[in-house]
Every structure is written in structure tokens, then in C-alpha cells.
Amino acid sequence: MRVSTAQMLNAMQQAMERNYERYHLAQQTVVTGKRIQRPSDDPFGASLGITLHRLLQESEQYQRNLTTAKNFLSITDVALENLNDLLRQTKSLAVQAATDTQSDEGRAAIAQQIRQIMAEVVSIGNNTTYGDRFIFAGLRTLTAPFTVSGDTLTYHGDHGDLNVEVSPAVVMSVNVQGDPLITGIYNAIAQVKHYVETNDIERLSREGLQELQNQLNNLLRTRAVVGSKIQQVEMIQQRLDKRKVDFTELLSGIEDADVADAVTRLKMAETTYQVTLATMARLENLSLLDFLT
């Protein structure tokens, strides 16, 4: 084939450009460590990447939601345990008061202790907070839920559930409303106090103690529910942590360049480019002109 001078130079130039482009791309891959710089590098991989990024980003939010849920539930759990102690104290005081040998002074002292316990129950209802939110107020979280006048407890909260999405499409209510739980406990204790004050041993040892036991049982059920929710949250947290690792790995497999491979390619591209340049320099010296004098 006849080859014109320009044709040879063109071919060299094209080869040089092509090799330089390859060199440049290989360099970019090594520098950024990314296989996918733009959607067209791998449309399927890119859209998978976007989805995985989204899931990871959403997982982070779920982690925050779970932390909130767990904090709510744990604080509730502690408060319920304290209520449990107060109920037990009341019960032993009631048993003490129900004995015939008790003097009037002794009963008065017991009534005084029970009054103390009632104040503590109200205090738990009003002072259990998460940040500045009253945990036992239903959804009226910005107002202290209880006021007392005489022995009557009034609830100012509502009966709304505080729902938290803990994983996709799984919603968990994380609050226990102050009514009927705390109002029930308070009323049972107030009743006991009333029997002690009026020395009604008959009703104290039957209805009074029975109602305390009912409240204890009820509290136990509520604690079991809260406890199982805490367990569930912890399980989901672990699952999310694992999912995060899996997704990150998957994402890396899609988006990240194989470093060893990328460096090898860069080295190869570099060598090819150097050879092209050297050939070009040699070619320039090759002309009939150099042999004519």
C-alpha cells in the first residue's frame, strides 16, 4: 500500500491521542479509586449504586430512630421499676397496718409514709422526661401530665401513641401513657391510705390489698411489653449494623476500582504511551532528505 507522509503522521497522532486518553482514564481511576465516575460508565451499576446509597442513608436514619426508641423505652422501664418498688412498699405497709396490734400512732405513721409514696408516684409521672418531653403525657409531651388536689389525681395528657418507624414499614409505639397506668396505681394507693386512716382493717386487708396486687400484675404486664420492645429494638439495631456492613461491601464492589488492577492498567497505559512518543521521535528523523546532499 502506498502511504503518504500525512497519513503516517495522522496514524501516529491518532495512536498518541488514543493512548493518552487511556493513560488519562487509568490515572483517573487510580486517583479517585472509583470505577464509576458517571452514570454512563456503567448505567446498571450506577443505578444500583444510587439505590444502595439511598438504603445506607436511610439506615442511618433508622439507627437514629432506634436510638430514640430505645432511649424512650429504657427511661420508661426505669420509671416502671420505680413504680413497682413503690407499690411493693405500699403493700408491705398495708400488711403492717392490717395487723390488730397496731397502735393509732403506728397507723398514723404508716399513713404518713403512704402519703410520701403517693407524692413519689406523682413525681415519677411528672419528672420522667426525655429531653424536655414528658414521657407519660401521651402526645401532649410539653405539659406536665399530672396535677393533684386533695387525693384526686388529674391527667392532662392524652392517649396517643408515639410511633417510631424502626425499620422499613415496621412502626413501633414507644410510649406508655400515664393514664390509666399511673392514675390506676395512684388511686389504689390513695384507697389504701384512706382505709389506713379510717382504720378500716376489714376492707384494707381485702379490697385494698387485692387492688394493690391487681396494679402490680398490670405493671408487670406493661413492663414485659416494654422489655420485649427494648429487645426487639436491640435486635433490629444489630441487624442494621450487619446490613450496613453488607451494603457498604456491595457498594464498594460496584463503585470502587480494583486498585491492583487499576495500577497495573495505569502502568501498561504509561508504557504504551512512552513507546508511542519514542516511535514518533524516531520517525521524524527518517526522511530521504537526510540522505540527499
Binding site: S4, R38, I50, R54, T68, N163, E165, L288
Partner: protein
């Protein structure tokens, strides 16, 4: 018998011919880097022999002449190069433009819309767990602001690119008309010269270059007429016919299969190749992406508001809009929630109620009828994936067309291009011939001098 100065005349014809050959070689060497130049070859031929009548009839050679200066060119290659060039330019232009669009979308990076959308919904999740908090509300406002801004920027940049492309198409139409005029002018000159006997190679080269330039812009077909003129057409539309140059109409049609130019009154020039078609293809894609972004923005606004407007803000009121606007360019955070306490997190007016916020957060998992039963994130991801596919296809196409084009160009260079060594060898050959002819002159001169001296001596 030949006449006395016959030999000198013969030598002088040889000198002239060799000089022309050397000049042509020089012309070739001078144009070794001129794009589109076709090398020229001096075709030498013997002159008419002289008939000598004697006992026998003798034919005596009378020397050399330049028969023609031939332009070495394969015109069939020109047609194939033009067609390939059009297709290459179409794909390359499309590829370049879609790359620009990819830059605008900035996926997959933190600046892309996809992460803004997720962040927006995450903010509502956060709000649902903490609806009383001013910081969480501010977070919702900020993310809504960020997401809508990204929508608007995206749409705005797409519109800019689109407008710039439309201008480019119109400017190119003007350029095509100017080139058509130049080709028509060259047609006239070439026809005139051809009538006189020869078509000058350099004019033909100029014209071929112009046609090739046209093929960068649009699909062209050039047909050479017996009188030396070319007829250049874009599909059915005659752009140049002998000395007449047509003008492309100004109207740009990009949104149908019949892409091209129209005057709105029946003249429609269908364009199937070249950078103009590449721009039109890109315009069609971009307006489709833009339309889908609009749909997404519109659906997002109405779906979010439908929930938000039935919820209660911390001020105990309901009916507030969260977002406003009807498309990607007008979507914005509503004035209604300029006071962030108006953000409606609750199903009720209880401050700890995050029920509505949760509903909005869960909207991201809900397939929407207006989005072809896709969820909001999936609908967006599909746009990006399609953009990626389009760009990749254009990239692969332009690469293979480029190789075909380069091969064809090499083939033409092989025929028409100048080889310096070859020309140097020719130069050497013509130079030696010239020297020999010069020597011939001096020998003839000496012979004549001798003859004259003999006459003078006898007198």
C-alpha cells in the same frame, strides 16, 4: 530533413516540461500539510512525431510535452467518507452533550438530587420521633429548601443547555447556507474551466473540502454532473444545484421522528446525520428528562402537601402547605411554613404527635400512580439510569464510527496524500532530466556554431 534549430527546440520543450514537473512536485511538497489536498501528477507524453519522407517514410520523435496535470482522487471514497462523517459527528455531538447533562445531574455524588431526596425524607423521620423540637423542625425546613433548590438548579441548567443547543442549531443552519453559497460559486468557476478543457485540481479540492465540512453538520449527498458542477442535497432537499444555492428554513423540529428544519409552510428538510442531528437528538432526550423531572417535582409537591395539609402544626392550626410549585423549575418551600412551628408533624394538635411526619416519611416507599407506579426515589433513579444508557450508547457508537472514519480517511490519504520521499525522488528525477536537456541545448548550440563556422570559413 528537420530544420536547423529543431534540436534546440526539442531541448527547450523538455526544459519547459521538466520545469512544470518540478513546479508540480514543489506544489505537492508545499501542500504536504494542507488538509484535503490531493496530490497532483504531471502526465508527460511525447509530442507529435515529425514525418520524414525519403526512400522510406520515417517518424522522428520531437520530444516531450506535459499532457495533463492530474488530480489524484477517488471520488467514491469521498461519498463514503461524507456518510460516515455525518454519522460520527451525530453520535459524537450527542455524546458530548449528554456528558454535559451527566455533569449537571452529578450522580453518583453527594451533590446529586437522589441524596437530597433521601435527606428530605430522613428529616421527616427525625421529625416524627421528635416533633416538639425546634432543631428537628429547622432540619426539615433546611432539607426541603436544599432539595427544592437542587430541583430548580437541575431544571435551570438543563434549560440553559437546551437553549444553547437550539441556538447552535440555528447558527449551524446559517453556516450551512454560507457554505452552500461558496459551493455554488465554485461550481460556476469549475464549469467555466472545464469548458475550456481542464478542471483545476485545487478548486476541486476546495469544493470537496466544503462538501466534507457540510457532512459534519448534516447528512449530504453530492452528485457530480457532466458539466463539472455538483448537486448537493440533504435528503430530498436540493441545497446546491449548479450555480443556485438554497437556504435552510429557520424553524427547528426536534421532538419527532422527522427531525429537521421547517418554514412552517410545507417546506420540511429532514436531517438524519451530522452534528445538527446530534444536537436535535440531545434536545429530544433533554426535554424528556426535563419532563420527567417536572412530573417528579409535581407529584412530590402534591403527595407531600396532601398529607401535610391535613396535619397540625405546633400552633394548633391545620391546612398548611409544605411545598409549592408545579414543576422542577418552580418547586419551592411554601411561605406557609416560613414559621417552622407551622410544619405539620401531628395528626392531632398534640405537640408530641409525629404521626403526619411519619406518613410523609413513609411516602418514599409508596408507589405513586402519577409516577408510573414507581416510588419517588426509584422514579428518579430510572431517569439517571436512562441518561447513563443513552450516553453509553452514544459513546460506543461514536467510537466505532470514529475508527471507520479514520480508516476511510487513511485510505484516501493513501491515494491522494503527498509522500515526501516520493516527491523528493521525483524532484531528483526531473532535475536530472532538466540537466540533461540543458546539456542537449549546449551540444546543439555547439553543433550549430561549428556549422556556422564552417560556412564562414568557406567564404
Amino acid at each position: 530533413m528537420p530544420w536547423t534549430f529543431f534540436g534546440i527546440e526539442l531541448a527547450s520543450r523538455a526544459l519547459q516540461s521538466m520545469q512544470m514537473a518540478m513546479n508540480t512536485t514543489g506544489h505537492n511538497l508545499a501542500n504536504i500539510n494542507t488538509p484535503g489536498y490531493s496530490r497532483q501528477r504531471v502526465n508527460l507524453a511525447t509530442t507529435e512525431p515529425q514525418v520524414l519522407q525519403g526512400v522510406k517514410t520515417l517518424f522522428m520523435g520531437t520530444g516531450v510535452r506535459v499532457d495533463s496535470i492530474q488530480r489524484i482522487r477517488d471520488i467514491f471514497l469521498d461519498g463514503r467518507i461524507a456518510a460516515t462523517n455525518s454519522e460520527y459527528q451525530r453520535l459524537n455531538t450527542l455524546y458530548q452533550r449528554l456528558t454535559q447533562v451527566e455533569d449537571v445531574f452529578s450522580e453518583p455524588t453527594d451533590a446529586g438530587l437522589s441524596r437530597q431526596i433521601v435527606a428530605f425524607f430522613n428529616a421527616f423521620q427525625e421529625l416524627s420521633t421528635n416533633p416538639e423540637n425546634v432543631g428537628t423542625r429547622a432540619g426539615v425546613y433546611q432539607q426541603a429548601e436544599g432539595m427544592t433548590r437542587t430541583f430548580r438548579q437541575l431544571a435551570g441548567r438543563l434549560d440553559e443547555i437546551f437553549a444553547e443547543m437550539e441556538q447552535r442549531v440555528q447558527a449551524t443552519a446559517g453556516e450551512i447556507n454560507r457554505i452552500a453559497k461558496s459551493i455554488a460559486d465554485l461550481n460556476v468557476k469549475i464549469r467555466h474551466n472545464k469548458a475550456l478543457g481542464t478542471a483545476p485540481g485545487d478548486l476541486l479540492d476546495n469544493r470537496a473540502n466544503l462538501i466534507e465540512k457540510l457532512s459534519e453538520y448534516v447528512n449530504v449527498r453530492a452528485t457530480e454532473m457532466p458539466d463539472g458542477t455538483v448537486r448537493v442535497s440533504i435528503g430530498e432537499f436540493a441545497l446546491v444545484d449548479a450555480e443556485r444555492a438554497g437556504a435552510l428554513p429557520q424553524g427547528v423540529v426536534y421532538a419527532s421522528a422527522n427531525k429537521g428544519f421547517t418554514d412552517g409552510a410545507g417546506v420540511h428538510v429532514r436531517v438524519t446525520g451530522g452534528s445538527v442531528r446530534g444536537l436535535m437528538d440531545a434536545m429530544e432526550y433533554i426535554s424528556a428528562y426535563r419532563a420527567r423531572l417536572d412530573t417528579l417535582a409535581n407529584e412530590l409537591v402534591s403527595a407531600v402537601n396532601a398529607i401535610h395539609q391535613t396535619g397540625y402544626g405546633l400552633d394548633g392550626n391545620t391546612g398548611y402547605r409544605l411545598l409549592e410549585g408545579t414543576d422542577a423549575l418552580t418547586i419551592r418551600v411554601s411561605e406557609d411554613i416560613a414559621d417552622i412551628n407551622h410544619i405539620a408533624a401531628g395528626v392531632t394538635s398534640a405537640p408530641g404527635d409525629g404521626g403526619k411526619a411519619l406518613e410523609i416519611a413513609r411516602l418514599r416507599q409508596t408507589p405513586l400512580v402519577g409516577l408510573d407506579n414507581k416510588t419517588i426515589p426509584d422514579y428518579y433513579t430510572a431517569i439517571v439510569a436512562e441518561l447513563g444508557e443513552h450516553t453509553r450508547a452514544a459513546s460506543a457508537g461514536q467510537e466505532s464510527q470514529k475508527i471507520i472514519l479514520q480508516n476511510l480517511q487513511a485510505e484516501r490519504e493513501s491515494v491522494s496524500g503527498v509522500n515526501m520521499d516520493e516527491e523528493m525522488a521525483n524532484l531528483l528525477r526531473y532535475q536530472r532530466s532538466y540537466q540533461a536537456a540543458a546539456q542537449l541545448v549546449s551540444v546543439m548550440d555547439a553543433a550549430i556554431a561549428d556549422m556556422l563556422a564552417a560556412f564562414v570559413g568557406r567564404r
